[in-house]
């Protein structure tokens, strides 16, 4: 059995895994995200012990994904200290001596969920995560969505909740949906992390549903996926998924009965817990097989 490598590079940790690309994992290591050199050296060392035929990477970004660009495979202008300009694809590809496929962390997660998880068997699916940031990836016609760059769904501008006076925490926009509804934006208003909201939780859930339903509705109008997978730490707020469903039905109204009539199947939790990204990355590597 040919083995492939998957890497999910996140802001706090890098998950490395080895498998056949069929949704299995035979070896795994989690490396805390530190400076690029030591972090990526750790990744190369793991795969030195676990040889693979190709490597797939789902990385935080923004990324240069244009194969014709001189900085293809680099992380571009990230606010993450030290990582701007890092040639993730090049460093890992040279370090392992194997072909590399690179995509965003959220596209890898969307691909993982579409192949093996909550959107299994569907050709068109969107994965949204609401955690430290808000992001979204998409699979269209069975392939991760690419364009001029990559999606940046968290920067969608949504209508502000009438009771919300928080200016918003996005360094670029202030009050885009990430600025208004990410975990840190909740903590900034509360003075403590959202997982410790206690009696404030119901008010948080209502406001979050107002914002996140606008993101789900926008995704529906602009991409018409067969399913939306909604995950991330903030979905740990009790009742939030159900509240987002209810608010999405309200917002879509009768414009799109195909979605609104069956929202429990349209908007769902991830099935792969924290493995969506790394399994999608592994699958990206396995897709390289014809070129190996």
């Amino acid at each position: 059995m040919t083995l492939y490598g998957g890497v999910e590079a996140g802001g706090t940790k890098v998950v490395c895994a080895v498998g056949s690309g069929a949704g299995d994992i035979v070896a795994r290591r989690v490396i805390p995200t530190a400076d690029p050199t030591s972090t990526l050296t750790g990744v190369v060392e793991f795969f030195a012990d676990h040889p693979v035929a190709a490597l797939g990477i789902g990385s935080f970004g923004p990324l240069d994904l244009d194969p014709a660009s001189p900085t293809y495979g680099h992380i571009t202008s990230t606010p993450k200290r030290g990582w701007g300009g890092t040639d993730v694809a090049g460093i890992l590809g040279r370090g392992l001596g194997v072909p590399v496929a690179l995509d965003t962390d959220v596209n890898a997660a969307a691909y993982g969920e579409a192949l093996f998880g909550a959107a299994r068997g569907l050709h068109n699916a969107v994965y949204l995560t609401v955690g430290t940031g808000i992001g979204g990836g998409a699979v269209v016609a069975g392939r991760p969505l690419r364009g001029l760059v990559h999606t940046e769904m968290g920067h969608l501008h949504v209508r502000r909740h009438p009771d919300d006076t928080y200016a918003g925490g996005c360094p670029f926009h202030g009050d885009c949906v990430e600025g208004l509804a990410s975990g840190p934006s909740l903590a900034a208003r509360l003075g403590r992390p959202a997982e410790r909201a206690g009696p404030d939780a119901p008010a948080l859930v209502a406001r979050q549903a107002f914002y996140l339903a606008q993101l789900v509705a926008a995704v529906t109008y602009l991409l018409s996926p067969q399913r939306v997978v909604l995950g991330g730490g903030v979905l740990g707020l009790p009742g939030l998924l159900a509240a987002v469903r209810a608010e999405t039905v309200n917002r879509l109204g009768k414009a799109l009965p195909a979605f609104a009539d069956d929202l429990d199947h349209y908007l769902v939790a991830p099935d792969l817990a924290d493995r969506s990204g790394v399994l999608g990355a592994l699958a990206l590597a396995a897709d390289l097989a014809p070129n190996i």
Copy 2:
């Protein structure tokens, strides 16, 4: 040379064309949209005089595009009187006795512009039209975008302009972008069509730019196309395209330099005037060639 047929079915007229599918038209007829029977009979008669090997249709909707559905090829719940439930694809396919490809009018236009027009040579492009309604179609990885249904970009909820007191004209949502920025919404506020705005035109342009830039930004965040083609009658307002560009740059901010740095090439007028849709429909027919 094999000839194919293209049909663009719109709310006021149906354009029929014959060509090789390579962006040429050798015969053309425009039929006013009346009741379904007489309109579609007119289409069948045109193609009886101009035999084609396959037919592509870009139609107003909503459409059932699910090949597994018993109502595949039907217009579903349109507000257009008499057309709800019309089996457009079936009636034309049986009438002509040839294979039929069906998509939305806006996807056909996006495909036409991506193959032969303002987004020629690009694999990822979005076409937006601002006329009697607002709609958008997309080409992703070279193919018209499909999903659970089809895109309904005009129903995106945007932030309201602070000076705008109009409730909005969308029958489903009131103040979605179509409800706030379509031609009829301008006429409802003005008391006359927007082409006769006269001294009110600059205020219209500013407000339209505020709304349409939000649509362009949302498309950018959620689809990351290589180019957005913005057309429709309302773009006849002098200076509107430039104003939408400027407002889009503001809204994207520094989150996406790849777009904002070159907006004159990213956001452009259509190249095919009123032929985008019918040329895209012709190309959809030509794509059926391997199955004929």
